[in-house]
Symmetry: C2
Subunit: 263 residues, 2 copies
Amino acid sequence: MKDYSSMKPQEIRTLIGEQQITGQTSGMAKGFTQANLVILKQEHALDFLLFCQRNQKSCPILDVTGPGSFRPSKLAKDADIRSELPSYRIYKDGVLTEEVHDITDYWEDDMVGFFLGCSFTFESPLLASGIPIRHIEENRNVPMYKTNITCTPAGIFKGPTVVSMRPMKAQDAIRAIQITTRFPDVHGAPIHLGDPSLIGIDDITAPDFGDAVTINEDEIPVFWACGVTPQAVAMESKPSIMITHSPGCMFISDKKDSELSIL
Amino acid sequence: MKDYSSMKPQEIRTLIGEQQITGQTSGMAKGFTQANLVILKQEHALDFLLFCQRNQKSCPILDVTGPGSFRPSKLAKDADIRSELPSYRIYKDGVLTEEVHDITDYWEDDMVGFFLGCSFTFESPLLASGIPIRHIEENRNVPMYKTNITCTPAGIFKGPTVVSMRPMKAQDAIRAIQITTRFPDVHGAPIHLGDPSLIGIDDITAPDFGDAVTINEDEIPVFWACGVTPQAVAMESKPSIMITHSPGCMFISDKKDSELSIL
């Protein structure tokens, strides 16, 4: 198996474009920012921009393509967002209808791509700080859950906040709060820790997206707002078509994680 | 009852010197830094300075008086530390022998006063941020506990880390970690949160110093390193004489809390 962690973003994107990588991207092109993707027709673009502005913890915007353009000028000007993510989900009228590796055939001239910050970005500094990350240790996708924390609506867009969860020892959780506070563009500090039921998660062993991970007895679950939120929102808001990355299968940009630290 | 919160530090210190105030100082002279006091004979001063340097989370030094001087030049140059704290504890050979309101009769020409940062300093910005503080709400002294976290020893000084505890909702705990991180000279970020038994606290309802407070079901206990640590250390290290403030009965300085924020 190739060491994807040390490869350059462009090299990984090329392999993805050739469908040699079709799964989750955690740990690839270490040090470079990965982003969530949401694609909508122009008629919904303003509402969705407003939605992101009103729900910045879950939907921090890193880049938006001009209508019809599939090149994210700020994140990776030469990339093609129609083929250079490993997996996409097609939602039609709020229903997940297909999961595909290339969306060139679905692309329309008035589509707009939104790139949202992803918690993978702050995992590098967490690891560098000696904080173990369970889903990486267990080689799984990060567990994600719908919560009872309602997003502030905008136009047709409304729905629950989705969170990603990492179990940690208390001391590591405190340090993780400090580190992730420095990264407001990739969800920033956690929005909850401890008792999952307080944010409407009934069964921590059954995530709505991603995979369950082990939580040890001396650990507490720590919850960050998650860029998968728009997918939960799509299901409720039912735009005629919405294309997203598949959970964990992110866009790998040319931007360095360290550029997103505010301190 | 007078409104001590809006009085100037010098006014409060005068009332204390006159023994019109003999109890805990939480909330007095709002906006001004309160400090823990440790007084030792010169023979132990170097060891104690080393001890503080090695255990900065519990013993962050704000000021040290020259041998024989009872005026803290950095914190309040006109104050007299022999009478301007509400209550003192005298430890002889590691045993608490007296609790007094004035130590002028105990003062010796080679004594050195150490002022350590106090968590009261970060309570103002916590309150300003809308985070309720239980022991203030319940008009009690903050609960403090000996832990199984051992201080790094220096010379004769060794012993357990003492922590102060504030119960909070998870969201407030996260915000409190951010805020207190800005105040490294007054214990900084918490050192633990959640399960008290993980740091050797068997009964959260029975603090070793201060008073127990209510912990609601949707709250977690958050623990900060505490300037009462030297008192627990005194009991183990047994210097011939050591004088400290009584828990919660702090020195009120002329320095503003806001000056201690690093951001």
